[in-house]
Amino acid sequence: MQAKVPQQGNVVIAGVGGQGVVLAGNIIADLCLSHGLDVKKAEVHGMSQRGGSVSAQVRFGPEVHNVVIEQGSLQYVLGFEWAEALRWLPLLAPDGLVFASSERILPPAAQRDRVAGGVNYPLAAFEHPRVRAVDAESLAKEAGNVKTAGVVLLGALSTELGFPVAAWRDALGRWVPKKALEANLRAFELGRAWQDTAPPKPLHSSPTQQARFRLQLEEAWCKGCSICVDVCPERIWQLDALEIARPTAPERCTGCRICEKLCPDFAIDVVREQESDLLHLAGGA
């Protein structure tokens, strides 16, 4: 059943840098314009380069005077990332709807604690009656390109925001790169069938990282070139007075292995310790 073409609406697309939030906003705005509606669009970006918040607000109707969406009047949220979608719940209208990707990207502010359960990812909101979790990442992979996850969510939105499907597809065609159009159209169709494929609740069990990593240093081999000091995203390595690299805060290691791979002297070894080992250690202590 095709819902009728909406005459006005407020949509927020929320995600992190690089997910195509602005592009998705443009597609919706274009779609509304092609139906002769007035559109105002506002974007918040700029802090986005390393996974910061990006959002786009689209308001459309016969005449729109203000870009700001008032509390209680937000009708649709497309969350390209789980937590980013949740930020908009306070504005949601009572009959509003959130389509949130179950993909989780830890915000930079939480990254100091991104090891081992340091971050408590807000899963409870899955129980919110107006939130629909969509496993957009897997559907996008199925469509052939993981970057089309946003379009999967647009597909899900299209089942509620009743513009004609052909108009949606035309708008996609105008905005996504030509060579990726086919995958995007597939993603759109998979998104339209979201009700059949949306993951069951609660979403696959909490993936808080349990692995810990031990940093081993072959001291005699280290020549103090400081490459590890400069490349570690967690700033774990420091040179001591003898210019030998020392891990200052090994508990922060996330196991990216960039130090190990870029060590010209093979001195660093990042050893993954399984959860069971940790339990064993805790039990033995």
Partner: protein, 278 residues
């Protein structure tokens, strides 16, 4: 370095002679990871090297290794491969060794399409002998023998190998070890002459003489462009030629060309190779 990769080292030889922060170590680290993934032991792998810092690294790897004369690694390797076609022969050479002294051997090995993998470490200078001008030194760069800056154009090693007929040509960087891993894997899979140019750093000569810093500073100069145009490598960013900075040119990385013309061994019908007409 992972335990399996470390097991391929001759531990009694470590630590190696390479200077602190030398990019060669990173490339060797990557090579060992690739080898460790492919082989349990290196009994059927032969590493052949010429003279130079890059060529020294074969001495630290517990494979069949041959340290030969300057520039002649490919000739020794060709002979070895034809006598023992069952061996996987990998040639480790540098830009001075492989393009300067032994440039002629490189183009003829490529022309024959002999089933070897040649890994050429390009640090844009002769490191071991004192930082002289190499055929890969870019214009305006300072070296021991170009105190007023280089005035000559340089070789593009990958383009040279392609033109000479190498059936697989790739390029990697010490700065992007994962991408390099993928290129090396594909080079080792390839049947025929596979040539991989790896951009690395000479901290002591090239870095110092050109005020580029050592270790990580020099390494980071390989990341000069944000252009994400990849050549035939799905995930990895590539660099567009001409972008970035004048002294260290940024060049595309990835698999640059690949074809399946018969290898030299195949045209001879050597054991283990199905005879194919060239």
């Amino acid at each position: 370095m992972t335990t399996t990769a470390k097991a391929l080292l001759r531990r009694e030889m470590m630590p190696h002679i390479l200077c602190p922060g030398c990019g060669h170590g990173i490339v060797m680290n990557t090579m060992l990871r690739v080898l460790a993934r492919r082989y349990d032991n290196l009994n059927n792998v032969a590493l052949v090297a010429g003279i130079g810092c890059s060529s020294r690294i074969v001495g630290y790897i517990d494979a069949n290794t041959l340290h030969t004369t300057h520039g002649r690694a490919l000739t020794f390797a060709s002979g070895l491969k034809l006598a023992r076609p069952e061996l996987k022969v990998i040639v480790v050479t540098g830009d001075g060794d492989g393009l300067g002294i032994g440039g002629n051997h490189l183009i003829h090995a490529a022309r024959r399409n002999i089933d070897l993998t040649c890994i050429l470490f390009n640090n844009e200078t002769y490191g071991m002998t004192g930082g002289q001008l190499a055929p890969t030194t870019v214009r305006e760069a300072f070296t021991t023998t170009s105190p007023a800056g280089n005035t000559e154009p340089h070789f593009d090693a990958a383009a040279l190998a392609t033109a000479a007929g190498a059936s697989f040509v790739g390029r990697g960087q010490a700065f992007r070890p994962d991408a390099l891993e993928e290129v090396l894997e594909r080079a080792l899979d390839h049947r025929g002459f596979s040539f991989v140019e790896v951009m690395t750093d000479c901290t002591e000569y090239f870095g110092r003489k050109n005020s580029l810093g050592g270790g990580s500073d020099l390494l980071f100069t390989q990341s000069r462009s944000d252009e994400e145009v990849s050549r035939d490598l799905s995930e990895w960013p590539s660099l567009r030629p001409g972008e970035g900075w004048q002294v260290r040119e940024t060049q595309p990385i990835g698999v640059l060309s690949e074809d399946s013309r018969p290898a030299f061994e195949e045209s001879l019908g050597l054991p283990g190779y199905k005879r194919k007409e060239t």
